[in-house]
């Protein structure tokens, strides 16, 4: 177990370096990091050169990357061009997005798995067909359309929820955005659970459990569901990173000042330090979530051992 963990942590290093380097190159090479500093007009060459020296932009890219990463590991994510430390932006943005992601994941787990179990046990019945068609529709309507429509209906027309979220973003205002953020993944979780349950419900251990007289509820929850959850857990785990990164659209629709909002602003204003910093954290979250998923396998299925 310990050896497996160490190996996995070591394997994460190249992916982390690769992903951050890629985004660093995208931001620095594709864009002109100084251009954002002089507002709408172009910098004059002397100012630009001065700024470039100040931010170390005159050095080769690999050296900039090395300096940046060295700073990151001492907790210094640099300064946004308005003089605010990037860590300060993160401290306000991440709690909001983490709350939003949590709401989304709770929706995925509760609704997605429940629907999946119900349809998986009733394959071919009208319930199953209806839910499956529903998931297809949800998957095909892009998130930003779902978001705009629900905001229009629930927020503006019927007034059930606030159409935009206040800066503090309390949990109750995040329910609708969380549902919107979760919608597509929720549909996938439903379909995955359904397939998995339908596959396993004829397994020998289920027959044994029924034969020894266990109540149906216990057979389904403890035996069938537990064994069917592995693909679902994999999906939800990899989805955490996607949800936090994909929150850009949802946060824009509901005016939530989270990670997506800061990233969007950072990209539009070519605020390289903000963008690279936030993406670095997102990549870390993605990698750690994936690792946790792999460790969860052994909890769900004791037959899986790590060597």
């Amino acid at each position: 177990m310990a050896r497996y963990l160490v190996r996995r942590l070591l394997q994460m290093i190249p992916v982390f370096v690769g992903a951050t380097l890629l985004i660093f190159l995208m931001v620095n090479v594709m864009g002109d990091p100084v251009a954002g500093l002089c507002g709408e007009r172009a910098c004059d060459s002397a100012t630009a050169a001065q700024l470039e020296r100040e931010f170390g932009l005159d050095k080769p890219v690999w050296q900039q990357y090395a300096t940046y990463m060295a700073n990151v590991f001492t907790g210094d994510f640099g300064t946004a061009f308005n003089g605010q430390p990037v860590t300060e932006l993160m401290a306000t943005a991440f709690p909001v997005t983490i709350r939003l992601t949590l709401v989304a994941i709770v929706f995925e787990i509760v609704i997605g798995i429940a629907l999946g179990v119900v349809t998986g046990l009733r394959r071919g019945r009208p319930v199953d067909t209806a839910v499956l068609l529903g998931t297809l529709v949800v998957i095909s309507v892009p998130t930003f359309v779902t978001g705009l429509l629900l905001q229009l209906l629930l927020g503006v027309k019927w007034g059930w929820v606030r159409p935009s979220v206040s800066p503090q973003a309390p949990l109750d205002e995040l329910i609708l955005p969380g549902l919107v953020l979760a919608s597509v993944s929720l549909a996938y979780v439903t379909r995955l659970t359904r397939t998995s349950i339908a596959e396993n419900r004829r397994a020998d251990y289920v027959r044994t459990a029924v034969a020894k007289g266990l109540p149906r509820r216990r057979v389904v929850v403890r035996h069938l569901l537990r064994n069917s959850l592995i693909p679902v857990v994999t999906f939800i785990g990899t989805d955490i990173g996607a949800l936090m990164g994909g929150a850009i659209v949802t946060e824009r629709i509901f005016n939530i000042h989270g990670v997506g909002y800061q990233l969007y602003q950072g990209i539009l204003r070519q605020n390289t330090q903000t963008v690279v910093g936030f993406v670095t954290v997102l990549v870390l979250v993605f990698l750690v979530a994936n690792l946790l998923v792999d460790l969860l396998y052994a909890v769900l299925d004791p037959r899986i051992r790590y060597a």
């Binding site: 190249p14 992916v15 982390f16 690769g18 992903a19 890629l22 985004i23 995208m26 931001v27 594709m30 864009g31 394959r123 071919g124 019945r125 067909t129 499956l132 297809l136 529709v137 998957i139 095909s140 309507v141 892009p142 998130t143 930003f144 359309v145 705009l148 429509l149 229009l152 503006v156 397939t195 339908a198 419900r201 004829r202 990899t238 990173g241 996607a242 936090m244 990164g245 994909g246 850009i248 659209v249 824009r252 990233l263 969007y264 990209i267 539009l268 070519q270 963008v275 993406v279 997102l282 990549v283 993605f286 990698l287």
Partner: protein, 328 residues
């Protein structure tokens, strides 16, 4: 899916609909294991086991989901090539005096915020979506499956390197990468968007292709071909590729729908296509600020977008059901 099923027989689900019962299941599985790629399609005697492809085609022709989605897609492609067929107006001729007006004779969908005819712009928007979807999928499928097949077939160092590279791409959220890369592009064509989707999409197909090539490689007929002295290229192209291509086609079809959705999302965020291009994402983005007064300007392009994506995803679903007998 709409195929009727016996309540307690999920595996042999298709018995009631004539979509291939237990016999066909066995036959198509046998065909998967023992294919005959040398023989051109259609020229086979009746008593031979049908190939995976002819079996799948037989299933698909009877599947209403496939027929409906294929019909929708044909219509979309026609509209994308020749929009003036059903919308003779010019999508760029707008009359500000009629901004946000509702439907009127000759303008069934009403007008958007700039006073443009929503019907004309919705019809003309199909071209951008279909072009991005088709070109990006082709690019992703070719790049991903060639790299994946080579990595899966030869293994070794390149496989390790390429697989780590795909890990890197998986770690970057797609919309985020799109914002960063496309925000500096000033071109107003679909090609930057296509290029971006190919750049970030190929790892998905790579993994599928690599996996199915590794599976196909272990089959006896590959060993047999090798023992007979076939070259690597011949084994890969004539023996492995025909048996590994099915999952790639399935995933690519479904991905096509999601790429169309992604293009609209990027255009909505302002980095995909930009006005004066006509695209559903741009229409929805432009209509969203005044959605209270003129919801029709948002609903029609959004509906068109949803139907398009739905059609491709359902097509992919139907193809998967037909190509993978085990899923039945």
């Amino acid at each position: 899916m709409p195929d009727q099923q016996q309540p307690y027989e999920p595996e042999r689900a298709v018995a009631g609909t004539g979509m291939g019962g237990g016999m066909d299941l066995a036959a198509s599985e046998a065909a998967t294991l023992e294919p005959d790629p040398e023989r051109p399609d259609g020229a086979r005697p009746q008593d031979r086991p049908r190939s995976l492809w002819s079996d799948a085609w037989r299933d698909l022709r009877r599947n209403p989901v496939f027929l409906v989605s294929a019909l929708v897609i044909c219509f979309l492609v026609l509209i994308a090539i020749w929009p003036s067929l059903i919308a003779p107006g010019n999508p760029l001729s707008c009359d500000l005096a009629r901004a946000q007006d509702g439907p009127s004779p000759g303008h069934p969908f009403g007008f958007d915020g700039q006073g443009c005819d929503v019907y004309t712009r919705t019809v003309h928007g199909a071209r951008a979506s279909v072009t991005v979807g088709v070109c990006a999928t082709l690019g992703v499928a070719v790049l991903g499956s060639v790299l994946g097949a080579l990595a899966g077939f030869f293994g070794g160092g390149w496989d390790a390197v390429l697989s780590r590279i795909t890990d890197v791409f998986f770690a970057i959220p797609v919309v985020l990468g799109g914002l960063v890369l496309l925000s500096v592009v000033t071109s107003n064509t679909v090609w930057p968007v296509v290029g971006f989707i190919v750049l970030l999409g190929w790892p998905q197909i790579y993994r599928i292709a690599r996996g199915s090539v590794i599976t196909a490689k272990q089959h006896d007929y590959v060993q047999a071909a090798r023992a007979l002295g076939a070259s690597d290229a011949r084994i890969l192209l004539r023996h492995i590729a025909p048996n590994a291509v099915a999952p790639v086609i399935v995933v690519a079809t479904i991905a096509l729908g999601t790429y169309i959705s992604l293009e609209a999302t990027l255009s909505y965020l302002g980095v995909g296509l930009k006005p004066p291009s006509v695209s559903w994402g741009i229409e929805i983005s432009a209509a969203s600020p005044y959605v209270r007064n003129a919801p029709h300007a948002l609903l029609w392009p959004a509906g068109a977008l949803a139907v398009t994506v739905l059609a491709f995803i359902m097509l992919g679903d139907a193809v998967r059901d037909a190509l993978d007998p085990k899923l039945r």
